[in-house]
Structures are given as C-alpha cells and as structure tokens.
Symmetry: C2
Subunit: 459 residues, 2 copies
C-alpha cells in the first residue's frame, strides 16, 4: 500500500467523509469489486478500520466478503476489540492466514488476546512456526503487561563493540525489524546496559566505542510491569524505545513509542468513560443491547444513591408539607454540591493518574479544596440568599439556603479529594467509583443541611 502525501486543509481533514462511506457502500450494494478495491486501495488500514466501525454489521459482512482475496492484517490490529471477532469470523481461512502473516508479533499478540479460543487458534495456526512460538511466549505474560506490548525483534550489540562493528553488523543482517530507533547494548549475560541512537551511530567515526555514545536517559522495563506505567514513563521521560527484560534481567524485547502512545490514548479513554459511568470498552459500534447492558450498572448505582437521598428528604415530610418553598429550593443546594464535588474529584483523579497528587502534597491539596469550597460557597450563599429573600420574601429562608450552600460546597471539596485518594489507596480505580460516592455525600449533606436548618430556623 502506498500513500501519497496529503496536505491537510482544515480540522475536518482527517475525518472520514460521508461521500467516501457512501461510495464504498454503493460499490458493496452493486457488487462492484473492482470499484470497491480502487476506493479502498489508497486508504490507510486505520482509516479502513474506522470505516468498518461506522457501518452496520450487515454492511460489514458484505463488504469484507466482496473485498475478497486480500485483507491487510493491519486493519484487524486497528479495529475496535468488539469488532475483531466479527470480522475474523467472516474472513476465509486463507485470507486470514495471509492477513496475519505480515503483522509484527506484538500486533498478532494484541489481536489474539481479544479473540475466543477457536478463533485465536485459527490465527496462531496461520503463522510460521517461529512467529507462533514468539506469540505464544508473549501470551504467557499477564494481560496489559510490558511483555504483551513489546515486540520481540530487537537489534542488539555487545557492549565492547565500536561503531564500525555495529554498522557492519547492521549492513549484513538478514532481517531487521520494520521500525527501530536504537541499538541496545548488552553485557555477556544479555542484560541491556545502554541505548545508542541510529543518528549517533551514523555520524560517529568507526573506531568510537559504543559505550561513549550511550543515551543519557535509559529505562529498562520488566516484562511483568503494567503497560500504564510504561506509557507514563515514555511520556514523562520522552523515551523513543526501551528494552524489556525477563525475571533474570535478560533482554527479551523492546517497546517503541508508538505502542506507548496507543496505551496512553487507551488509558485516557478508559478514565474519561469511567468517570462518566460508561463501560470503558464501550464504542460506537456496540449494539443497542450491549450498550444498554454497559450503562445499566452505573444507573443502578445512581438509583440507589438517589433513593438514599430521598430517604433523607422523607425525614422532613412535615416541614415540606408546611413550607413548599423548601421543595422548590432544595434541588439547588444538592445540584451545586454535586457539581463542585465533580470538579474536585476530576482534578484529583487526573492528578492521581499523572502522579502529581502524592503523599507529599496531599494535605495541602485537601486544604486548598476545602478553602476553595468555602470561598465559592460564600459567594453563592450571597447570591442564593438574595434569590431566596426576593423570591419568597423570607430573610430567614435566605440565611438557611446560604448556610446550607456553604456547608455543602466545603463538604464537596473535601469528599471530592478524600474519596478518590482513599479508593486509590485501596487499589480501586478512583475514576470508576468516586462519582457515585461523592454525589451520594453531596446529595445527603445538601438535603440534610438545607432541610435540617429550615426545621431549626423556620418552624
């Protein structure tokens, strides 16, 4: 596949056009294989994957069948997990074998780990023996580990070599990896001791020892470390590629920045979706039933917390019957608390993810959130007090709602920080669970403070 250079014009450039999709679907409808192939020939596999995600299951099956003999394996790598099984089951064994044989081993691992046993075997059997062994070895590492992420093709050199040795070795190598950026120096026990960039290698004299060209920043990852930590280190230390070692500290593979970037993107996606109470594997191509099932649990948790809040309200039945203004105003206090709590918790969840919130600054951050809650609480207390006064003509109601606002915003700031930090300490993902806890707290405190003060002051 060859791509022409494209000069993007505006921010819609990389969006898959409605016209392209329509033209592809027309070709499928009219069984025009030549037209379909000529439309898809210039497209990047990632864009073809996006196209497959945008059409429905019936159209997908017909497209893949019509497309025929050749199916780029990279399209499978780029597809949403949820669609891979579907596409693999539609491909004929011969086409599937062709598709996967061209992939790097890390891409095959990524593909196989999401398939069911029968389909995974189909893919594995399509590989050459040596590739299959490599993939099966990678699969022995835990899911989401550096061992699964790495590619096994490594360019290494003994630490005593000079530039000339390394260049001669590279020029005579039979099979170098498709993409590599460093030569990894190893000691006699195959333990990595340093990286040399290809740029330095090319611009140095042949007799310079590799040792003298070592990169300053050099990180080694154990194969069992979580891929999220790998992505963090790549981003924090601007790594381009880094060696992976087994339990004996021997070099077993290398991770490159493009894979780390994909992990970083996935982790962000996971955080943002979890914060909203959406299953982190959700995608636009999920079915109605699948989506309903994903969204249900969080809504059920929310129902539970709202019922708890309603039980609090029910304690004040008498007051509500006497002063209807309380029923009218009470959602405002709860809603402001919920919003302020969400602000604090989002900042805390992000700061935990980027390791900016640590034991060293925790108390300062908690104090800051409480004081910010107090200041905003006072500001909105004044606004709401005035509204309460003029709307219902009752200064006492104004004081009550104002004071309840201050209390709830301070509590929101505290809960929004303390709850995610506590969950993180308990090794529960704070992005997943904080929202429910924080809103329960702000709802309960909001209703309790407002209605409780009202009973005390107004009745």
């Amino acid at each position: 596949m060859t791509q022409d250079a494209t000069i993007p014009a505006d921010d819609r450039t990389y969006e898959l056009g409605r016209k392209t999709v329509a033209a592809v679907l027309l070709a499928v409808d009219t069984h025009d294989r030549a037209q379909l192939q000529s439309l898809m020939e210039p497209m990047h596999p990632a864009d073809i994957a996006d196209l497959l995600e945008q059409i429905n299951a019936y159209e997908r099956a017909r497209l893949v069948q019509l497309y025929g003999q050749k199916f780029d394996g990279e399209i499978l790598s780029e597809l949403d997990d949820t669609l891979r099984e579907e596409i693999v089951s539609v491909l004929t064994p011969a086409v599937l074998a062709d598709a996967v044989r061209d992939l790097e081993t890390d891409d095959v691992v990524d593909l196989v780990e999401d398939l069911d046993k029968a389909q995974a075997d189909k893919v594995l059997n399509a590989l050459d023996r040596s590739d299959r062994v490599a993939v099966e070895q990678s699969l022995t590492y835990p899911e989401y580990s550096a061992g699964r992420l790495m590619q096994r093709e490594v360019v290494m050199a003994p630490e005593h070599w000079c530039v000339g040795d390394a260049i001669d070795f590279l020029r005579t190598s039979e099979k170098l990896p498709e993409q590599f950026y460093h030569v990894v120096m190893v000691d006699p026990r195959l333990r990595p001791v340093g990286n040399v960039t290809l740029g330095k290698l090319m611009s140095s004299r042949r007799e310079v020892p590799l040792k003298d060209l070592k990169e300053d920043v050099f990180h080694i990852f154990p194969a069992v470390i979580d891929e999220g930590e790998v992505a963090y280190a790549f981003n924090q230390y601007h790594l381009i590629s880094a060696p992976v070692v087994d339990a004996n500290e021997r070099l077993v593979g290398v991770i490159t920045i493009d894979d780390a970037m994909a992990v970083l993107d996935d982790e962000h996606e996971e955080d943002i979706l979890r914060l909203a109470g959406v299953g982190e594997d959700s995608s636009l191509s999920d079915s109605v039933l699948g989506t309903t099932r994903q969204r249900f649990p969080w809504l059920a948790v929310n129902l539970l917390t709202s019922v708890v809040a309603s039980l609090v309200i029910a304690q004040f039945e008498e007051a509500l019957a006497q002063i209807v203004a309380l029923a009218i105003l009470m959602p405002i206090v709860a809603s402001m608390g919920g919003n302020a709590g969400t602000q604090s918790l989002t900042v805390a969840v992000r700061a935990l993810a980027t390791k900016d919130l640590t034991a060293a600054n925790l108390w300062r951050v908690i104090r800051r959130e409480a004081v910010v809650g107090l200041l905003n609480g006072v500001l909105f207390a004044i606004v709401m007090g005035v509204i309460g006064l003029f709307w219902f003509g009752s200064p006492a109601l104004g004081y009550v709602i104002g004071l309840a606002m201050v209390i709830n915003l301070v509590v929101a700031g505290l809960a929004g920080t303390i709850i995610p930090v506590t969950l993180e300490k308990m090794r529960i993902d704070p992005a997943l669970a904080s929202g429910a806890f924080v809103t329960t707290v702000t709802d309960v405190v909001g209703f309790l403070a407002f209605l409780g003060l009202a009973v005390w002051v107004l009745l």
Copy 2:
C-alpha cells in the same frame, strides 16, 4: 546528567517519594547546597519539575536560589505553564541564559510563548543570534499550530541521492539534531517528497537510490494546521516524524512523535477537565484564589440551570403541598436523567474527538442512544414503580414515576448526542458546554414529566 537504568518494581515506581521531597526540603531548610545538588543530580528534569510543582511557592523560591549556578533548561520546559513565570523571575540572568541555551528551538518556543513580554525578551536575549531568529520565526505561526510545535533542525537530502550520498553527508555533518529518525527527501524547490528511516539507510547497499526506500506512509503538515490535528494523525497513522511546510510547500521543520504525544496528553487533559467544568489550565499548584476563580463560572452556570429547574417545580406548588411524596421522589427522576445524559454526552464528546462520530453514522448513533434510553428507562421504571407502590402504597404514583423515568431517559439519550454534535457544528468545543445544556434539559424534563403527570393522574 546521566541516569542509571532502573528496574521499576510496582505501580508506585514512578511516583515521587515523600522521602525524596522531605530530604530536598530539609537540605533547603539547612542551606546545605552540596546535599541539595547531590539529591537532585540523579533526577530527570521532568521529575525535578514535578517536585517543584509539589512544594509551595516559598519553598520553590528558596530551593531555586540555593540550587545556584546551574539550572537545567529542560526543567523549565517540563514545568506547568503557571509556574514558569514564577521560576524564570527567580533565576538570575546568567543562570537563565545558561539554562535556555541548551534547549532545542521548539522547547524554547514552548517556553517563551507562555511568558510575559519582559521575561520572554530576557530568554530571547540569552540565545545565540541564529537560534533567536529561528525562535522568532516560529513565533510568527499561530499558537497551537504545527509551526510552533516543530523543530527547525531538519536532516534533508535531494531526491536523486543514493544511500551512499546520504551516509557520507550524515557522517560529515557538523551539527545533527539531538534526535532524528528520518532523512527527508526534497525536490529542487525544497518540497518534501518522502521519508527514509535511518534503519533502512543503514541496512541498504550504497548504490540503492533513496527513492526505492521511501516509507509507505508519509504525511506532510502545513505549518498553520492545529496541533490537535497533528497529534491525531500521528496516533492514527503511527507516524514517528513528519515534515512541516510553509504556504509555498517548502520544508521548514519537522515534528517528532514525542511532541505529538505531549499534545495528545494535553488535549485529553483539556477534555476531561472541561467535561467536569474545571478550567483546562488548572493544576494542583494553582493558588486558592486562582482555583476559586476557575471553578466559579461553571458553578454559576449550574446555579442558573438549577434555578430554571426550580422555576419549573414552582409551577406545581399546589400539587407539592397536597402530596409530599412528590417532593421526596422528584429528585430521583432528575438525577437518573442527568446521569444517563452524562453517559451519552461523554461517549459523543469522545467520539467527536477521535473522529469516530461523523455524518455517516450520526443518525444511527442518535437512534441507538434513544433506544438504549428507552430500554434502561423501562427497566428502571419497573424498579421505581415497585418502590413507589410499596413505599407510598399508591399504584398510580408508581405508574407516574415509571413513565416519567422512561420519558426522561429517552430525552437524556437524545440530548446527550444532539447537543454536543450541534455545538461541534457551531465550532464550540462540545466538552466545554455540553454538560450544562444536557443537565438543564434532563432537570427540566424530569421535573416537568413527573410533576405534570402527577397533577394529571393523581389530583
């Protein structure tokens, strides 16, 4: 600065330890410069920046002053925007000059664009004349453009060269960029025509024309394109480096994947914070007043929308006075709608950011969200109907809350998709504004449906 290889042990590995911070602060307190330097010597500039972000302004100033003569410019690059001015103002002119002279031009641009005029001039005057010109030229491109992101140091070769020519050129070059991954082939008018990886260059015979080694995937960015589009393309097409051209399509610089990764990280951060109604430049090192100011606007918007919801409730004063159960149950309907709406809108905002939601699948997605809302609505209607029946002993109340739930969840699905898509079409960031609109809709519809049906059925 030289770093030893570290083998990370668990997911706390990359977290800055409380002990390190305490030891550094102790050295500052006791004016022990030697100890401070020996503690900070092995640290990566990114970690030093994190450390500076974790301590307070007073400690920062004292640390920087004690640290003395040498201050790695990369620390400035890694710092939060909000702290850069503070640190630059503490550094003596001589130390600042030393610090910035070692930076690549793209890092200096990144630094200068966030400083005020006087400080920016201080930095620019510290540079060599040629570097200053390069930085000033980059600054003529719009903020957040490819032109600001690129580095101007490019390794290029005429398109008619062979591998041998390129290698000889590299080996005799005086000054190559610190990091580079491709040789960019250019035509006689300096327009980029292809990339050749250093790996291919090293492993090919000297007489092979560069043309034959061109990468399949090749993207050119105009200098004025938004950096978000650049990051998207790097992630989508697994680019490692890509040329940047001016309005005449002439090569003016190159963007590398580590810079694209940083942009992707920033954009995610922005989205997640905007969705929560937190200023996108917020950081843990912001002051209390700064944080209060950042959070205030979104809370003010939320106050406005809650007051609107309260005005809706106020229309049903009579019903509420007669049936207190309505006041107790009504927050449940609004809260479920708000949550379902947030789920839909988060999925839509993410899908818009990743260009997965387009004109081609918009109607299918909207239909799906409405049907998902309907299904979950029916499920929760049954649950709430039963709760309503047993809690208050009224089947009619059960029907009313159940039906209101169905209506509000369907509306939540529709509003959660249509509102962000409409904002995007109006070129307003959907992450920023969708939340307020969607909750207003679900609050108003929730109260209106529940109380309206109650008046109709129960009174």
